[in-house]
Symmetry: C2
Amino acid sequence: MLYEINEKALKLESEGKKIIRLNLGDPDMATPPEIVEAAYASMKAGNTKYSSSYGEKRLREKIAEVHGVKAENVVITPGSKWAIFSTMFLTLKNGGNVIIPTPYWTAYDLIAKSFGAQTKLLKTELKDEWKIDLDKLDSLTDKDTKMIILNNPNNPTSKVMDTETLDGVVEIANKKGVTILSDEVYGAISFAKTKSILDYDGGCKHILSNGFSKTFTMTGWRIGYLIANKMLIDNITKLNQITFNNVPVFIQDAALKGLELHQKIASAIKAKYKQRADLASAKLSAAGFKFTKPDAPFYVFPKLDGLDSEKFTLELLDKGVAVAPGTSFGDYREHFRISLTAPDDQIETALDKIVEAAK
Amino acid sequence: MLYEINEKALKLESEGKKIIRLNLGDPDMATPPEIVEAAYASMKAGNTKYSSSYGEKRLREKIAEVHGVKAENVVITPGSKWAIFSTMFLTLKNGGNVIIPTPYWTAYDLIAKSFGAQTKLLKTELKDEWKIDLDKLDSLTDKDTKMIILNNPNNPTSKVMDTETLDGVVEIANKKGVTILSDEVYGAISFAKTKSILDYDGGCKHILSNGFSKTFTMTGWRIGYLIANKMLIDNITKLNQITFNNVPVFIQDAALKGLELHQKIASAIKAKYKQRADLASAKLSAAGFKFTKPDAPFYVFPKLDGLDSEKFTLELLDKGVAVAPGTSFGDYREHFRISLTAPDDQIETALDKIVEAAK
């Protein structure tokens, strides 16, 4: 229902209705001007032609340096979504199953279903602070399991996995010969220390997907990347050649500028979202909602006993606030997801409306 | 071998070697400055966020106006390649076959194979002026045929289908309930009058894919579109949501500017490529190559009796000229494809080297 809510919100806006949009992880801040200027300079320099489906060498090398891998282990994608789609498609199109802990980002499940792959959902719960039960994971992993997807920090809970649990997941995956795809798109702006899947081996045994959207406020630019073994990178590149061909080079140059300014941009974003997370936590706690306090931008995933979040979300949209129902993230009817991605005053107004509507 | 040649050419260039690249349909001219400025203005105006997976309303409406359809029949894609991939994926992923006349654009066959769809190739030949044999098409179309792909004007021959043949193909498709996907990406800059698949019915019974790359020298911007019935448009939009999400809005605004300046830009491009096609035709004819004179940009597909075009292409690349072997377009070992997409003096040099190498 996540995408339907968004299209409905866009439609209401096009009809002139004012909607506070807390339904997507799309930051309200503008893309930093240095990044915009870098794109413009690159366009004017003529970087407007077809290019390599691997991505530009200069960007792959910079990303490789950031993550301590080789450039041959990096492919540039139109958003981290394509990094995830292409990896799942190539790994699962001929059968097998994928284990997805819930609550999950809606796209994982929709992607698997789009080519008929079997998904096995592994439920985690608020009362366990969203920890994966390793025994359950072990018994769910069978001979047809090709992949485990981690989202760390997690969307929608903004929870960072503790090291012990992550160690345990990697151990199970290695023992059973299953690949982990770790979506770490919120990792670089996390408030808490986040261990990366790449910390486990230098040889890209597992897979990292990441993007520029969240760290650099570049959601609409559609640029991300995948780090994996060279064979998968080569196969994704072949898929890129027959689908979108390449991310525009001027967008890759804009992303490169972002990486060069990483420290400055990421700290400002972190500080802003920490402040918003604190505000939301205070208001929601006071109103009796239950949740884990965010370890990272942008989300809170509160629970209210007895809530029907689909009904609640639609009613709230009519009152001018868009959030996402918990059912979009798995079996979480009593939860809903708030994205703290609007100007501060709007967030405050929206939180008040949410508290009011939930009474 | 088309993509391998390109990656090899890029590699040779990165090693400092000078390559005249006539292997891709990537115009040497820069994107018109008005289009670059429109993108920059849109970026600065903050159009850098997630947006609808259908594409922007203003662009869909303009495209609908150009083609005489409704905006609901239009979806914006990252290049016409994605329009084609997504259509074929949704139509053929659960089985069935697709008929592809040859010579064909490499991507059609690679796309079908990427999800295991069966392709039935229908060979056309230079001696018949590349006309489709309607009886052969009729007998090739069976109960499992889901789609016929037309590429009109054709890549690699630059031949425009004559009206009688196109009428015949449509009649067979309608009789047998098969959908035609007509890739008309060279249509707007054709030298000869080109009938569109949309001329056959107002209700989008068949499917048109098109792009901005060729008409507006925007290859590297990755923007195209599909015109089809609303149900397919809705389903492609759902696939867009889980793959790349949306074409950057500032790129859509750049494309819109292109459409506004269509007359001016397209006539300049047509004139330039007509002149190059005449030059190439004269030089190649004089040297004994056989081919049909181009009806459209950008290609010539000459034949030399007894030629092994794969060997020839690799040797030519070592001499600094990249072209594409005929085998990349089907069973055409004696042909190769020249893209007239380099500055005039380079084309002249390259043609001389080609003539020399073929002796």
